[in-house]
Subunit: 242 residues, 2 copies
DNA sequence: GTTGATTTTTTTGTATACAATTCTATTATG
DNA sequence: CATAATAGAATTGTATACAAAAAAATCAAC
């Protein structure tokens, strides 16, 4: 059972000094980004401890971090659950992302070196490959990582840290509100963006990025009409029909 | 000794469900904002535990939170210290703040109710009072709270959370790089800003806010020349003189 | 059978004990 | 005397035990 982490514990790849809670954090984070953990899922400390083969102490630390990034909600005395933003909250998150992405895009256009842009392109190719072979989960995660790499290239750690939080929250939002339709094939938009960055066309790059975010927000307005979390609205038809 | 927190533990004012680490977190946070804790200060877990009358578990949680906000630096196996941003990092932080404050200011101009603006004004009056009576620490903290209240008024929790981190980091920067001169009398600029918000003059408000941030950044460029953390530069005069 | 109170179980919050690591001071060696 | 090596103390990382709270299950009354 605890082979899961035993193999990781000794996995000192890249000499990175990952502490145990870093690993647990990353695993849960990825699970959320890949939508293997649905919004609202309860995150039991002991169960997670058994899964990863560590004590609750470590789990707690990881959850605390995720909580600070608002990816999970920590309810005092009632444990942690994967966040499930309301439509209102989702709008606020997307708005915040517009603010950050605009700044990031501008910085990247100004400062990016071509080797870095190459890395961006590689990432999008991977992303495309995932979607082609039907691995939607990994595709969505890589799509998020594209935006995180952009933020890294912007060379501004505070913005990057904020972006981490926003990207994962957006992933949750997509999980919640994107209808079954196989949309979210964003990689072509990513390619366009890379082209604009290569040409250092700041205006176009920002425009493309905003357009990119419009797509997420469009889905929200769509769902706003049907599936609502407003109980009265949900049952009004039922009542009038009776 | 542990009367310090015993009194706070039972202090259920406002019915706020503050858990113990919330309280410790807030105390350390305030101490940093008021500059009672200087940048670079080592934060020993056991000592803090004794001061607040709680176990290391609680201290650790609080430090972990502060670490995520980058207000303290958590060095694996080597403990936590109050962050001491380099000039380069300081510039990045101020840049990030420009991005956030611009968005916040626009949102506030669009949506603020007059009762909220009144609260803003009250806060600035307190701030002014602090500086008049020479309580620089509290003044700086209130100055920060002015910006946090703005972010609250913007009604965007993710932006607010980010702003929390940035404001405290800026406070650290001021602590580090502001020369003895009794500058940082920002409250008059806050008054101007409030006027612009009252008139819903978005352009002017944003312009004032950017100008406000210029003042912080100016200090950095000034100090950039003299007090440097570049050892070679510091001792070059000494060496040539010999 | 449904509602409400009470007990039991589960889960979270906190303290503490021990292990692992880093820091400090002492001693040995050139 | 300076440097290196080593032993000891101090500090952090992790697991675990117990207390407090919440959730679930049981039972009673209607």
């Amino acid at each position: 059972m605890n082979q899961t982490l035993d193999s990781i514990k000794t996995d000192k790849k890249r000499g990175s000094k990952k502490t145990q809670d870093d690993i647990v954090y990353a695993h849960i984070f990825d699970a959320i980004l890949e939508q293997r953990l649905a919004p609202g899922t309860k995150l039991n400390e002991e169960s997670l401890g058994e899964i990863f083969g560590v004590s609750r102490t470590i789990i707690r630390r990881a959850l605390s971090r995720l909580g600070h990034e608002q990816v999970v909600v920590l309810r005092p005395n009632r444990g942690a659950v994967v966040a499930s933003p309301t439509i209102e909250e989702a709008r606020q998150i997307v708005f915040a992302r517009r603010v950050v992405e605009k700044a990031v895009t501008e910085l990247v256009c100004e400062n990016a070196e071509s080797t870095q842009v190459d890395k961006l392109k590689k990432l999008v190719e991977e992303e495309q490959a995932c979607f082609s072979r039907g691995d939607r989960g990994a595709g969505i995660r890589l799509s998020g990582e594209f935006h995180l790499l952009m933020a890294e290239m912007a060379n501004n750690p505070p913005l990057l840290s904020f972006q981490r939080s926003l990207v994962s929250l957006c992933s949750l939002i997509i999980a919640q509100y994107e209808s079954g339709a196989k949309s979210h094939c964003s990689y072509d938009e990513h390619y366009e963006l890379i082209e604009a960055i290569r040409k250092r066309d700041k205006n176009k790059a920002v425009r493309l990025m905003m357009h990119h975010l419009d797509h997420i927000e469009d889905k929200l307005s769509l769902d706003d009409e049907n599936a609502s979390d407003d109980l009265k609205a949900v049952f009004s038809g039922l009542l009038s029909g009776k």
